[in-house]
Every structure is written in structure tokens, then in C-alpha cells.
Amino acid sequence: MNKLFPLFLLIISFADFDVKQNQFIARQGQVSFFSYTSVENIEAKNNQVLSLLDIDKKEIAISMLMRAFVFKKDLMYEHFNESYIESDLYPKANFIGKIIAFDTSTKETQTRIVRGKLTIHGITKETDIKTAIKKTDENYNVSGNFDISIKDFQIKVPPILSSNIAKTISIKFTFQYQPYEE
């Protein structure tokens, strides 16, 4: 019996019990935002958004560098970072949320609400984001869109430019997740 026990342990340590992958990562997630006004339409894209998806905890965490948003015009980029978002003070925007009623077994696309805290410009706000989640063999694709109000995040627009920036900004996102081992 004494001899069998260490042998048993040895065998167990080699056995791979098909550990289910429950952490996924997207390093090149895309987040774009749109501001539509009668004076000017502004659009920017960030293609280096980081996101972690935890299947067990049913949580999504997203982090992005504000300076990585690309605009069509240099001046827009400068205004965005220097005046509106103040990237020196608040370089990143985050979101952490729980997927409500997430079905981890199905491969069908499911539309779910992700409820969590969105932090932009140093201000955190409880936000519900409608998301489409699709599971492919090894990966997950998550996409969706939602609107934010610039007032909620204390983004101040000078009166001269107030007709150039919309009060409500539309945000679109898409993430392609791959298995993640820490």
C-alpha cells in the first residue's frame, strides 16, 4: 500500500483531465466611436484594445489607451487628447462587467446584457452594454454597440466647438478572443 500511493500520485500528476479553458484574451480588440452633428462628423478607431473574458466568472474586462485612437485629422486627435479626454491625466479607459444569463455551452450567437462599470476621463458610471457573443471552436467573438453621454463623464467642450461635438457618442466594439494561459 505504501508503494502504491506515490505511484498513484505520479500517475495523477501526468494525467491531463482535459482542463476546460476558461480564460480568453483579445489583444487587438477594436473600439470605434462616432459623433454626428450637422456641422461635423467625427469618427475614431482604436485597434489595440485589450480585453479578458472569464467564462467561469462570466466576466469581461476591457482596457484601452486613449492615445491609441486614430482620427482622420491631426487637430481632432489633439483636441480629443488634450482638451476632452485629458489623456495625460487619464490615459486609459476601462470597463469591468458581468455577463447576465450567459450560456457557456452553446455555440449559437447569444445577445446578452453586460452590466458593469465604465470608466472614462476618471469618472466611473454603471453601464449596461448589449453584446452579441458567439463561440467558435476554440475562440469567442464578442461585439456590440452602445451610446454614452459626454456629460456623464465630465467631458467638457468649449462653447465655440459645442456644435461640432455631439452630446451623445455612439460606440461600437468587436473583440476576437483566444485562449489565454497566464
Partner: protein, 145 residues
């Protein structure tokens, strides 16, 4: 009197034109300027860059963020996700890398690249999330060393 008026109006027009050139035209130019002919402020290896950021993010941002830097490293992955041309450079750790989003002008050069090839990338460093992020990059194919 008439002559002075004409000269004055010409001067004013010239002034307006120069103002226009320096202030108004930049408002409408694109951000995707080709960095090929600009000199980099710093030259660093992908391993050192990532190590610097993992040790002290704030200090590294001070050193690199917003600046044009040249990073030398081995190609970990070439990606065309979301219609972008991206190269990810290696580091010591398996999980971290340097994400280099390429300027559209470099599309032809990508076809010449292979995994594990050593290249030099010049781009604007934006910061660090889990990888260092470089935008508007141009590629320098290093001749065989």
C-alpha cells in the same frame, strides 16, 4: 495714396495666405503621415522595451510615449485582423509582445516578411496595456547580420 492702398492690400493678402497655410491647412491633413523619413528619438530592442514597461510603466511612458522610436526584434506574428496590417514582435515572456500597427504604405513590405524574422520597426509609441503599442509604423528590413 492709391499706391499705398494697393501695397497695403497686397501685404494683407500675403499675411492671410501665410496664416492660412500654417494654421488652416494642418486642420485638414491626415494623421497617417509616413514616418519613413523621420528620425527616431530612440533605438531599443523589443525585449528591453517590454522589460522597461513591465518594471516601471510610468517611467517608461515618460521615456517612450508619444515619441518616434525604433524597435528591433523577432516577428512573433503577422496579423491582418480588422483590416489592419499588424506585426507583433517577440519578447522574453510568452504573453507579452510589441504590437506594431503598420502605416498603409508598408503593405508591400509585409509580403516579404516571415515569422521569426528579425526586423526593425519605427513607430510612435502610445503606451502599454499587456503589450507595448506602436502606431503608424514603418518597417526596416535588417540586412543579414
Amino acid at each position: 495714396m492709391k499706391n499705398i492702398k494697393i501695397i497695403l492690400s497686397i501685404i494683407i493678402i500675403l499675411l492671410l495666405l501665410t496664416c492660412g497655410y500654417y494654421f488652416i491647412v494642418p486642420m485638414f491633413t491626415t494623421s497617417e503621415k509616413n514616418l519613413q523619413y523621420k528620425t527616431a528619438t530612440l533605438n531599443v530592442s523589443s525585449k528591453d522595451l517590454i522589460r522597461a514597461y513591465t518594471l516601471n510603466e510610468q517611467k517608461s511612458n515618460h521615456l517612450y510615449a508619444g515619441k518616434i522610436i525604433e524597435v528591433t526584434g523577432f516577428i512573433k506574428e503577422i496579423s491582418f485582423l480588422n483590416s489592419r496590417n499588424t506585426i507583433i514582435l517577440n519578447s522574453n515572456a510568452e504573453t507579452f509582445g510589441v504590437i506594431c500597427d503598420l502605416n498603409p504604405n508598408e503593405k508591400e513590405k509585409i509580403k516579404l516578411l516571415k515569422k521569426h524574422q528579425k526586423i526593425r520597426v519605427k513607430g510612435i509609441c502610445k503606451g502599454f496595456l499587456k503589450d507595448v503599442i506602436l502606431l503608424n509604423c514603418t518597417i526596416d528590413l535588417i540586412p543579414n547580420e
